[in-house]
């Protein structure tokens, strides 16, 4: 497949699933998108929409028994090529920032040892002085004191652990950082500071992929947005396009729920995904505009160069 030099992550017809007793359960279904270099790219969706699985695929953290289809290219490395995968190759290039940093830092090692491990894994023969210098640099970017180096992870507060986790990610010198729900455990003040922190990562030539259910947070942080529902991408585009002119009913609903602005005449609340296993459009059981054509799966159609939507309404 051709790789656009402007994009750093490219998915084409990507499906990711697991074998269950009732057959294969596809968590991600025929997803296609491109992440432009040094952008902040958000994947928005509710629990069960497949966004975390997609993030794990990009950072190479899918379990070995995973089933895959389609293509996933990360920084010019083919990570998934139909049923063959090379997930290990993505690790260290696309680094994940954990959802719960307190449990994601090894409780048996001091923060200094964590830094040393991460840096040694990238470059085998770095001198101790170089390592020390680099650690100080990454700590200062994250506004952390050098004292944290002598602490064990259980001695850090939630916000500090979060910043340590991000500093460690920077120490791995990644091309991409995948932030999985970076704000789920934080209060409002810390949320905005994490947001601006993530935006700053672009200065280091890093592409940031943010996985979140919070469309308000996404609108503050991101350049591009992908909205997922039931394992499928329902809308994709620049953040201003999607937010000002949402085309998919689900996106409209998310924006309405977040801003308390009425979009639908007969307003309804966002409820959890159900009936995803049915054929046809993933959103048809919830959609207020449901028509007969929704029995077939709508393909992602682009209305502008960047703005795409998977809804029969937008096409016809």
């Amino acid at each position: 497949m051709d790789i656009n030099s402007e994009s750093i992550v490219k998915a084409e017809g990507l499906s990711i699933g697991y074998e269950t007793d009732e057959g294969i359960l596809w968590a991600v279904k025929e997803v296609s998108f491109e992440v432009p270099k040094t952008s902040v790219f958000c994947i928005v969706g509710e629990s069960g929409s497949g966004k975390t699985t997609l993030g794990n695929a990009i950072s190479g953290l899918l379990p070995p028994y995973v089933l895959t289809q389609g293509y996933l290219v990360v920084d010019n490395i083919v990570v998934i090529n139909n049923d063959k995968n090379n997930l290990k190759a993505a690790r260290g290039i696309a680094v994940r920032i954990p959802q719960n940093p307190s449990s994601a830092l090894n409780p048996y090692l001091k923060v200094r040892a964590l830094f040393e491990d991460v840096m040694k894994s990238k470059a085998k023969n770095v001198s101790k002085a170089e390592v020390r210098e680099a650690i100080v640099k990454y700590l200062s970017i994250m506004q952390l004191d050098e004292e944290v180096l002598e602490l064990y992870p259980y001695q850090l507060s939630g916000g500090m652990a979060q910043r340590v986790a991000i500093a460690l990610a920077l120490a791995a010198k990644p091309r991409i950082i995948v932030a999985d729900e970076p704000t789920s455990n934080l209060d409002a003040y810390l949320r905005s500071s994490v947001g601006s922190l993530l935006k700053r990562l672009i200065e280091f030539g890093i592409t940031v992929i943010v996985i979140t259910h919070d469309i308000v947070f996404a609108s503050h942080v991101c350049n591009y947005i992908v909205v997922m529902y039931g394992g499928r991408v329902v809308e994709v585009g620049k953040v201003e396009e999607v937010l000002s002119q949402p085309l998919h009913p689900y996106t409209m609903l998310l924006i309405e729920a977040a801003t308390l602005k009425k979009v639908f005449t007969n307003s309804m609340r966002v409820s959890a995904i159900e009936g995803v296993g049915e054929s046809g459009c993933v959103y048809k059981s919830k959609c207020p505009y449901r028509v007969n054509t929704c029995q077939a799966v709508p393909l992602l159609k682009y209305v502008s160069k960047t703005h795409g939507v998977a809804c029969w309404r937008a096409v016809t």
Binding site: L61, N100, N106, P107, V118, Y154
Partner: protein, 337 residues
Amino acid sequence: MLLAYVLKRVVLSILIIFGVIALSYVLIYIMPGNPAYTWVGKPKGPKAAEAIQIAVRELGLDKPFYIQLYEVTTRFFSFNWGVSLRFKQPVATIAIRSLVATLEVLIIAYVIAIPLGILIGSIAALYRSSLGDKAIYTLTSILIASPRFWLAALTLIILQALNVNVFGRIGVEYQPTITIVTGSYIIDSLISGRIDAFLDALTRTLPPALLVSLYPFALVVRIVRISLSEKLHEEYFRQALSYGISGWYAVKRYALRSVIPVLAQIMGITIAYSLVDVATIESVFGREGVGIALAKAIPYNDYPLIIGLLTVVSIAFIISFTVADIVHKLVDPRVRI
């Protein structure tokens, strides 16, 4: 803080040893048989009754029970362990000699069992449900289930047939040539600079040690296999992979490390179990040891020796539990002891 812990442990140990002595004396007291009869050499004839009477007075067995108990315990804590009624040797000498002989086997067994068990267990965990894993699982099941004394007899017969003499602790021809320092022939032969004697002692110790190691080895494999495969799904292990830390290094530092506390605790108990397990193997191989000495002391009501051996074994138990706790503390910074 570690000092305070050790002090606390020492005080606790003294109480435990006090309890062990008191309890063993009570058991010996209610046991049939007369220690005085053994002490005077099982006399027969008309003067026998008189001789036994004298012995009873000499041993203080005519005093009330609580006085006897008091004398026995205080004697122990003043390091006057008395003389074995059966062997007419100081109890401390016999107890320590037996313990050293047993520890020789036990230490070699565990030095083999723990690292090898961790290695094999890790392989099983990393290649879970592969053919190798299944083979390891089956093998360890057999090892845990098979009676060691039977394996010991089998090994001895096979080695005899191959003309390898592994009976006893050291060949009689080497025994007089070694100066006894620690009581372990393996170490003493090296101190005396006798490589040939050292090799002889080692060849005689290895087969029983290997047999003793089977149980802890199988146990370590099982524990590591289960705990490690659990730790491989731990959030911080996956995060380490994401940071680009890979291979055996990641497994060692980010998964195996957290298995060690559990392993240390279980090994502390298993060593205590092996102290008993080793007795049958020692008896098959004709070695000295705590278990054998105890088996010889009990039928003769040799209460000083029984108490001496039990005390020595309790101290060994307490030390192994303490070491397990200290290992746990050293590995896991969150633990306070």
